[in-house]
């Protein structure tokens, strides 16, 4: 991260030599990392959750409706974390 931002710093110094541009670039990198890292956990979580739900539905198709409702609720709660990362991405990156 540090190295990348210094690289950008140098690049901008040789080019436009603009401090705000360097700041912007740093923010963009930070935003990318923020969203990327925030997406890891919920990604795993949602995958696990849906996989388990499919297992449950396959085992007991008669309870599929209930499992599906609960699955959506679980997805909603899990997804919230990724979305907060996304909002941070919007806030600092764009």
């Amino acid at each position: 991260m540090e190295a990348v931002s210094r690289l950008i710093m140098q690049a901008t110094e040789t080019g436009a030599a603009d401090a705000t541009a360097a700041k912007k670039a740093n923010a963009a990198i930070g935003a990318g990392f923020a969203y990327g890292i925030a997406a890891i956990g919920p990604g795993i979580g949602i995958g696990y959750l849906v996989g388990k739900s499919v297992e449950a539905m396959a085992r007991q198709p008669e309870s599929a409706g209930m499992v599906r409702t609960t699955m959506f609720l679980g997805i909603a709660f899990t997804e919230a974390l990724a979305l907060i990362g996304f909002v941070v991405f919007i806030l600092i990156g764009l």
Binding site: V87, I90, L91, L94
Partner: protein, 198 residues
């Protein structure tokens, strides 16, 4: 100059190929609205959106609560009720139809058994009549046969007595010719009987 410039609401989207990455792309247009574009943060709620959106939702929810939903639901309930009563009447009708069918089947069974009984009776009568006729026929045949037998018997007896007479006559004549005297009728009879019995 290998770059594409796209204008979208005053900002500029540039697509620059690497040969001329150093060329500056036009960004002049962006300045006309740029203060407008960066002013409200992307997650700050705007007041006009808030009250228009909120107001329309509140109005919609109230309308839904007071007018729209009850009306629709009433119609749905009425239809479901109608469907249920129709279902029930159809069920009742089906039950009555079933009873009718059962009744009809019972009658049918009665008639069938009656018919079978009649047929049996008729068959028995016919059978008896036939047996009677056969017996009568047999009796007549037997009579006729007996008569014919008796006739044949009589004819044979007559033929036998004739033959015996002829044989005893011939034998008597032959004995007379051989011995010169006629054998007695007794002897002749015995001899003839012996021969004929062979």
């Amino acid at each position: 100059m290998h770059h594409a410039v796209i204008h979208l609401h005053g900002t500029t989207v540039r697509l620059v190929s690497s040969e001329d990455a150093t060329t500056t792309a036009a960004t002049g247009e962006a300045s006309t609205e740029s203060q407008d574009l960066s002013k409200p943060g992307p997650i700050v709620p705007e007041l006009k959106e808030l009250y228009w959106g909120g107001g329309s939702f509140v109005v919609f929810a109230l309308l839904m609560r007071v007018v729209l939903y009850p009306k629709l639901k009433k119609g749905m309930k009425a239809r479901y009720e109608g469907i249920r009563t129709a279902h029930e009447s159809a069920d009742a009708e089906r039950a009555s139809a079933r009873a009718e069918v059962a009744d009809y089947e019972q009658q049918l069974a009665g008639i069938k058994s009656e018919a079978a009984r009649k047929v049996d009776v008729a068959r028995a009568a016919v059978e008896a009549e036939r047996a009677d006729a056969i017996a009568k026929l047999n009796a007549r045949l037997g009579e006729q046969r007996a008569a014919a037998k008796a006739e044949v018997e009589a004819a044979r007896a007559a033929a036998q007595s004739q033959i015996r007479d002829a044989v005893s006559d011939v034998a008597g004549r032959a004995g007379e010719l051989a011995t010169g005297k006629r054998p007695s009728a007794d002897v002749l009879n015995r001899v003839v009987n012996e021969v004929m019995a062979k």
